[in-house]
Symmetry: C2
Subunit: 392 residues, 2 copies
C-alpha cells in the first residue's frame, strides 16, 4: 500500500483554562492507504504539530514530516519503523517532529490492523492481552477536603487505584502537601493503590522533593511521579537513592527512545511512563517496554485524554502480565469523551484489556467531533498549505 | 521595562534544496521594550517556531511561548533567566518552545545591551573578549576532488582551520570517506586544524563510526563531530573510549542545558558545540560553557547561518581564552549574508572577537531582507493570529 493522505483535525473545548487537564484540546490524525483508514492522536500542541507536518523544507535535515510520510510504502510493521527512522533523520532539526509523527505512527498501526484484521498488540508479537488495573487519573483539589472528596468519588466509581496530580502540590510547603496525601489515602481507603504526580514542580531541587517523601511513605504512595523536569536524570537518581519505599516514576516527556532509556539507566526510576502520542508512536513505546522488562522497571502508559489514545497506549505492554497498572482517564473533557464511540470499559472485576479487535479497536465518532473542530488555515507565500479537512 | 512586542520574520531563499545548508532560510525575531529594539535568530524551522509562539493554549503546561514573554518585565539578566524558566514550565509540553524562545532570548540580551550600552559578553561577566580562531564551516564535495578544491579555496581565503561536514560521508564505505579526509587534509595543508562533521549519519552504530577512525587519525582530524544522534550518549561514550587521538564532538541538537551536560558526563565528548538558536538562547549556552570549563571540555559555538547568530553564539564563551576555536559560516546563502550590515570580520591575524559594541553589536539590515521575506498568515477559529509584520 502507498500512504495516500494524512489529515490533521484540531479539536478544542470552547474554553481552555490553565488547569493541567490535557484533554481540553486534541489533535487527531487520519491516514488513508489501500482503501483503509487509520486513526491516531498526538498528545501535543495542535497548531505547531500541524505546522511541523506542512511547513516548507528549511534544508535536508529540516524537512517537514509530510516529506517522510506521504507516498511512502506501508507493507507491514517494518515499514512503520522505516518511516519513523526517516522522520528522525530528515526532520532532525525540527524539534516538534516527534510529537507530530506520534499520531501518524498510531494511525499507521491502526490502518495496518484493519488491513490484516489483527489487533495491534498481536502484530507486536503478544499472544494475548493481559488484564490491567486502571487507575483513575485525577487532579488534586485546591484544598485537602476537595482532594478527599475526589478520592471518595473515585472509590465509589469502582476504582481500586487512583493517581492524584498537579494542583497546588509543591507550590506551598511540605506540610500543606502532606495534608493532601493523607486526604487522598483516606478517600480511597486502605487497600487501594495511591499514586502521586507532582508535574515537574521541583525542576531540579532534590531537597524540596525529598521533603515530601516522609508524608508519601506514610500515605503508602505506590510512586512519586515527575518530581523533576524530564531531562534531570541526575536529580531523579539522587532522589531514588533516598527513597527506598516510594518508587520514583517518570517518562511522559520522552520524545524518543533514548530519553526513556536514560531515565531508567541514569535516572534510576522504578516506573517508566510513556505517552505514545509523544515518543514517536506505538513502536518506540513497545521498544521502551522491552527495555524496561530487561531492567526490572515497570512500564506504565501515560494517558490523560481520549480512548483512542488509551487504546494506542495499552498496545506496547498489552501482553506483559507483570505490568499490571494502567493510567485511565477518569474525568476527561466532553471533547475527549466524544472522540470514541466504543470506549474501553472496565469489566466486572474493574480491569481493562487492550481491545481484541482489528487495529486499535476503537471507532472514531466523526459526527460527535464536529462541534469541537477548530477551523484552521495556514498560508505561506500566498499559498494555502493547510486548511482544516472535512471530517467526512 | 515591559516587553511590548515580539515580531517574527520568516525569510527564505527562493529555492531551498536538500543540501545540509542551514542558511537557506532564517527566522529572525525583533523585540521591543522601553524604546529599544533587540534582534535574535532561531536556528529552527520557521513556521512551527512561529506557531509555537502564537498558538492557542492547550492547557496550563502547554501554553504558547507568547504567554511567558509578552508584557513580562525586563530589568536585567535575571529577568531573562526568569522568563526562560517560565517558558520551560508553562510550555513544558510544547516541544518546539525551546527553539522558538532561543531567538527571543538573544533579542532580549541585545535589547538589554542597547539599554545599558554594554556588549552582551560584559553583562555575562567577562572582562574582555578573547581572540578566536574561526574555522571555515564547509560541506564535503560529492567527490574527493571537489572536497580538495573546497579545502584549497578555504586556505586561499586565509582560513587556518576548516571543518568539512555532511555530503556523502557515511553513506558509502569507510574507504570512500578516507579519500575525502585525505583530500581535505591535502587541501588545507599540514598546519591547519581539520575538523570532520558526519551529521548523525551512524545513528547509534558504533562499529560503523569506529571504522572511520583510522583515516581520521591519519588525516590528523582535530575532532569527529556528531557521529550519532543527539541523544545517543552511550554510543558517544563507547566511541570516545576507542578514540584516544581524535576527540569526539557534539551538542548542536541540545535544546536544553541538561542535554548538553549529559553529552559531556555520559557521552564523554571532548568538545561541546552549542547552538544558541536552539538551546534556549545565550544564557543557557553560557551555563554550558561554565560546565564545560569545570570538566575540561572545550566549548565551541555551532553557527552555520548569519552574523547575527554568529555574534550571539560567540557571547557565551567570548572571554574564555582557552576555548580558541569558533565556527564561522564561510559559504552562507545570499540571504544569510544580507541579514547583517556590519559582519564580524577576521583581523589581519585571521582571528575574530565578539563585537565590542552594545548588545550583540550587529546591525540588522531590514531593507536588504525585504526580498527574502516570506509572507505568512495563520488563522485559527476565523481569527488571524499571525501575519508577517512589517520590517519597517
Amino acid at each position: 500500500m502507498k500512504i495516500e493522505a494524512v489529515d490533521f483535525f484540531y479539536l478544542s473545548m470552547p474554553d481552555v483554562t490553565i488547569a493541567a487537564d490535557g484533554s481540553q484540546d486534541a489533535l487527531l490524525v487520519r491516514v488513508a492507504a489501500g482503501g483503509h483508514i487509520g486513526w491516531g492522536e498526538c498528545e501535543a500542541a495542535p497548531l505547531p504539530s500541524i505546522a511541523a507536518f506542512v511547513c516548507p523544507m528549511s534544508h535536508g535535515a529540516c524537512r517537514p514530516v509530510a516529506a517522510s510520510v506521504l507516498g511512502a510504502t506501508l507493507d507491514g510493521p517494518e515499514s512503520i519503523t522505516r518511516i519513523g527512522a526517516r522522520v528522525e533523520r530528515d526532520s532532525m532539526d525540527l524539534l516538534q517532529a516527534a510529537h507530530t509523527f506520534s499520531g501518524i505512527e498510531m494511525a499507521l498501526w491502526d490502518l495496518l490492523g484493519q488491513h490484516r484484521q489483527l489487533p495491534v498488540w498481536k502484530m507486536l508479537g503478544f499472544e494475548k492481552a493481559t488484564s490491567k488495573i486502571p487507575y483513575a487519573s485525577l487532579l488534586f483539589g485546591d484544598t485537602a477536603d476537595e482532594t478527599l472528596a475526589r478520592a471518595r468519588k473515585a472509590l465509589a466509581d469502582g476504582f481500586s487505584a487512583v493517581k492524584f496530580g498537579w494542583g497546588p502540590i509543591g507550590t506551598l510547603d511540605a506540610a500543606f502537601d502532606a495534608d493532601h496525601f493523607v486526604a487522598a489515602r483516606e478517600g480511597i481507603g486502605n487497600d487501594g493503590h495511591l499514586m502521586v504526580d507532582v508535574g515537574q514542580i521541583f525542576v531540579e531541587d532534590i531537597e524540596a522533593a525529598a521533603a515530601r517523601l516522609p508524608a508519601l511513605e506514610q500515605a503508602r504512595a505506590h510512586w512519586l511521579e515527575e518530581p523533576f523536569s524530564g531531562h534531570a536524570f541526575e536529580a531523579y537518581a539522587d532522589l531514588a537513592a533516598r527513597s527506598p519505599n516510594v518508587g520514583i516514576a517518570g517518562g511522559e516527556a520522552a520524545h524518543n527512545i533514548a530519553m526513556a532509556r536514560h531515565l531508567m539507566d541514569f535516572g534510576k526510576v522504578k516506573f517508566v511512563q510513556i505517552d505514545c502520542g509523544r515518543i514517536g508512536g506505538i513502536g518506540p513505546a513497545f521498544e521502551v517496554a522491552q527495555l524496561a522488562q530487561v531492567r526490572g522497571v515497570t512500564y506504565v502508559n501515560h494517558t490523560f485524554t481520549t480512548h483512542l489514545a488509551l487504546s494506542a497506549s495499552l498496545q506496547p505492554f498489552a501482553g506483559i502480565a507483570d505490568d499490571r497498572i494502567c493510567e485511565y482517564p477518569a474525568n476527561p473533557s466532553a471533547l475527549a469523551l466524544a472522540v470514541v464511540a466504543n470506549p474501553i470499559t472496565r469489566n466486572l472485576a474493574g480491569e481493562v484489556f487492550a481491545p481484541d479487535a482489528p487495529g486499535l479497536g476503537v471507532k472514531v465518532d466523526t459526527d460527535a467531533l464536529k462541534p469541537y473542530l477548530v477551523d484552521t488555515e495556514i498560508k505561506v507565500g500566498g499559498k494555502v498549505i493547510y486548511a482544516t479537512p472535512s471530517l467526512g
